[in-house]
Structure formats: structure tokens, C-alpha cells
Amino acid sequence: MGQPCAVIGVGQTKHEVKRLDVSIAGLVREAAQRALDDAGLAWHEIDAVVVGKAPDMFEGVVMPELYLADALGAVGKPMLRVHTAGSVGGSTAIVAASLVQAGVHERVLTVAFEKQSESNAMWALTVHVPFQQAIVAGAGGYFSPLIRTYIRRSGAPEDTGIRVALKDRQNALKNPYSHLVFPDISFEQIANSPMLWDPIRYLETCPSSDGACAMVLASAGAARRAPHRPAWVRATAMKSEPTMFAGRDQVNPQAGRDCAAELYKKAGISHPRRELDVAEIYVPFSWFEPMWMENLGFAPEGEGWKMTYEGATALDGDLPVNASGGVLSSNPIGASGMLRFAEAALQVRGMAGAHQVEGARLALGHAYGGGSQFFAMWIVGAEQA
């Protein structure tokens, strides 16, 4: 809605467990510089900067946009910092896009990052706040009971998760920025990896990465002058629901369904599975792929796992999911959502390199966070409308 907005530059860092070679400033600048280079722009040509990341306790820096103002060329410019838990990378892109759609700015640099090796993300995620119940199982322990519920409801075969992990890890071999790279990855290797929180195994889990992702979003006028093909933002949507309430469905959350429905309506899409060419969705634990297939309306309820089984979500399937390797392969938490949005843009620009889905012209970027309660999504296309 509003003015047209396009992605004219994308940049990301090589995601690693620890980027000891750069400071936080160096990390974000690396991604931002790549995005600017891709967009053919100099720092001074950017009108505003929107930064996004997960809790500050992951690095131990309070409100880091203040510290990063110089590194991101934001001095003298407007600068915002978005924080919507795990979906933040996506919602940050949406806030940046709205600045262009509102006609406020022509060129906006948006950066999402996490340098979680600098603090202790595990501690930050499980810190015991007085008077609240102690966390008994860690992040995976929160989601695995929900996965068990999904398996019960759908009757999905037990190895569905392994198949998802295998696909994403094979895709990662085609993405030079991937953190986790297993050249000889196999079904057996995943099946034999240690069980962490039944039914999630070690190789079905996302890593903890240092990394950053950046995009340059531009108006139609600025996009016309861009050196490479733009990805047009066709629709954006964000929806949230409370963490816990009586009768809440955390397996197929209403907020996710509503967000997707609004997104498709705005983009003029009536058959998402047919009309979308590729999807980059937030899968931190393997089983989220079949669950999100249903939540996004690609498959009827209870049948999302069939898409995985049939190979529909493989790189050569009819709706490739996570051609980049996804969150399972690289997970700088604050950036993961933006990586999905950026990879979707790369696909429709024809710039996804070895993991390019041929002929991709319409792509979905998806991010979620919290207790499956915050959703941010966008659809980008090779055409403006």
C-alpha cells in the first residue's frame, strides 16, 4: 500500500559461530557495505537507517543503534531500532519499507544482526526472573511439546523432521554464507545425531550464529536508477497474539494464519501454493516446516508433512522452501528474519547464485518469534504489480 517500494540491494555476512575478526560495528558494516555496493550507492545517498535485533542481552549493549550510528553512516539521519523477538528481522524490513511506502524517504538502509558470541544467548534466553516459574527445558524444550501435538494431530511419519533437515542442509551447501556446512550430510547422519528434546535431534536444530543481513529499500524513482534488477515489495503484514491464553493453538497459531491471509489479500493472491514460486520461512527446528506449510495455507491442516514427503519443498519441487538452507543452517537470531526476507528478494532478482530457483518471480519471506506469537511476512516480485 502507499508508494511502491523495491529492494535494490542485499548484503549479508558469512555467518559463523564466532566472528572474532570484527567488532559488532564491523559485522554490521560488512553486510551494509555489501548491500550498498549491490545497490550502486554511496553511504551519503541513504536517507534513513532502520536497525533490528533481538534482546540486547545477547551482546550486552543497550540500544546498540546509538553505538552503531557512525558505523552505519547514520549521523545526521533518522535512525530506528526495532525489537519484536524472533520475528524482528522481518518486522525491521517492514518498518523500513513503510518509510518508503509512506513517501517519507527515497532510500532506506535496513540492517538486522546478532553477534551473540559476545554475550551468552543461552543465559539470556533462560535467565530466571524472580517470582516467575523457572524455565525447565530451554528453547527447544518449549517447542518440542508442540511438535508432539502436531504429530499427534496430523499422524505425520516420525522421520518428517529428518527429511526437512536433510533438505535444508543440502541446500546450505549451495549458499556461500551458510554457518553450518555438512558436505557429506545424509539421512542416517541426522537420524543418528543425539536426541535433544524428543523428537528434535541435534542436526534438526538451528545453530547460534554471529551474522548480519542488510537491504537497501528504495522508491520507484530510485529503483529505476539501480544497477541490478529490483525486487518489488508487493505486500507486507504483521500480526501478534498473546503468549498464553485459554484455548490458544500454538501449533497452528491464529496470528500466523491471519497474517498470511492478509498478506495474500494485499498481494492479490488466491492460491498461494500455485502462485508463489519460492518461500523462505523461519524454521528453527525441522518440524516447523510442515507446521508452517499448513499455517501459511500451502497445505490443508494435517497435511503439511506431505509436501515435505513428496519433495514439493525441495529445490526442484513445485514450491521450494528455504533454498538458502534456512534458519537451520544460519541463525544470527536478530538477523534470521531479515535473511528470509532478503533471500526471497534475491530469488526474484535472479541473484541467488547456486541456490537460485529457476524462473522465480514471486517469493514469500516469513519470520516468527516469541511463543509462535509474532509474525512478519512479505511478498516480493520481479514485477512492480
Binding site: 517470582f131 516459574q133 524455565i135 525447565v136 527445558a137 511439546p145 543425539p194 490458544r248
Partner: protein, 162 residues
């Protein structure tokens, strides 16, 4: 020539004072007396345990107090096989969503006194309290849940809470 400095450790110490808030205070005082207290939303009539002072769905304050049984049903669960930083229980162990009788929302708790591979959806369980003399204003008064000698609850009975 020595190695360039790649990183420095800068320990930070911050102290915070937390308030439980009114609803949690009522709940925790109940805990210290061996009682499990929930609150009912005046709008949707659902009972929340632990109570939060507000119904997250309706966005209104909750005040009506309901005493909840220590017996409940496992709605779903997971088997944890890696140690958790904050927990002394040795893996593997079962952690479950337990819907207490009378409550409308499950909460997460440990299952013990049961081989972890026998934990199942629908299993009936009861709270195991710490010895009375150790009770304080804390969730920790309930150490864990153990199986009850009752038939499993049918799927229909709890499926809307999944």
C-alpha cells in the same frame, strides 16, 4: 611480536529489584500455604493458573480467585535429553504441559517418579509438594508431578487445550 588483541572480557554486574505484582503475590502467598490459586476472567470466564492479574485474551483485569486442584492431565510433553543451565534434574527427563482440574490453561512442569518413556498425552498426574516446613512464597513448593492411579483422560477432554 605478540598476537593482536581480538577481544576483551568486560564483566558487567547490574542489580535489579523485582516486584511480583498483585496477582503473583496472591498466587505465591497461596503457594506458601499449600494452595494453588487461579483467577477467572470476568469476560470470557476462563480460569488462569498461575494468575496474571489480567486476561491476555480480553485485556481486562482479573480478580475472582479460584482454588485449583493439584491433580491434572498431561496435554503434551517432551523428553529433555540435554542438561539445562538452571536445573538440577539429570536428563533424560520429561517436562509436560499439565492442565490442572479446574484450570483453562496448562502450565509447564517436570514429571518424575515415572519412567520418562511412559509419559503420555492424557496421563493423569498430581502435584508433589516439598515438605511443609520448606514451603516459601515460591513455585518451587511444587517439586514435580507424578502419575496418578487413574485412567488416562480421553483425547476429547483436553484436545482444545493443545
Amino acid at each position: 611480536m605478540s598476537e593482536p588483541v581480538a577481544s576483551i572480557k568486560t564483566p558487567v554486574r547490574l542489580e535489579y529489584s523485582y516486584s511480583a505484582g498483585r496477582a503473583s503475590t496472591r498466587f505465591l502467598r497461596g503457594m506458601s500455604e499449600g494452595r494453588i490459586l487461579g483467577q477467572r476472567c470476568p469476560s470470557c470466564r476462563k480460569v488462569y493458573v498461575p494468575p496474571r492479574g489480567s486476561c491476555p485474551r480480553c485485556g481486562v483485569a482479573t480478580q475472582e480467585e479460584i482454588e485449583i486442584s493439584g491433580k491434572g492431565t498431561v496435554t503434551t510433553f517432551c523428553i529433555v535429553r540435554i542438561p539445562s543451565e538452571n536445573l538440577s534434574v539429570k536428563p533424560p527427563y520429561a517436562a509436560a504441559h499439565i492442565l490442572l482440574d479446574g484450570a483453562d490453561i496448562p502450565f509447564f512442569a517436570l514429571i518424575q517418579e515415572c519412567p520418562f518413556d511412559q509419559v503420555r498425552m492424557g496421563m493423569r498426574v498430581e502435584a508433589v509438594w516439598a515438605p511443609r516446613e520448606e514451603w516459601t512464597t515460591s513455585f518451587g513448593n511444587i517439586r514435580y508431578f507424578r502419575p496418578l492411579a487413574e485412567p488416562d483422560a480421553p483425547f476429547e477432554a483436553f484436545k482444545e487445550h493443545l
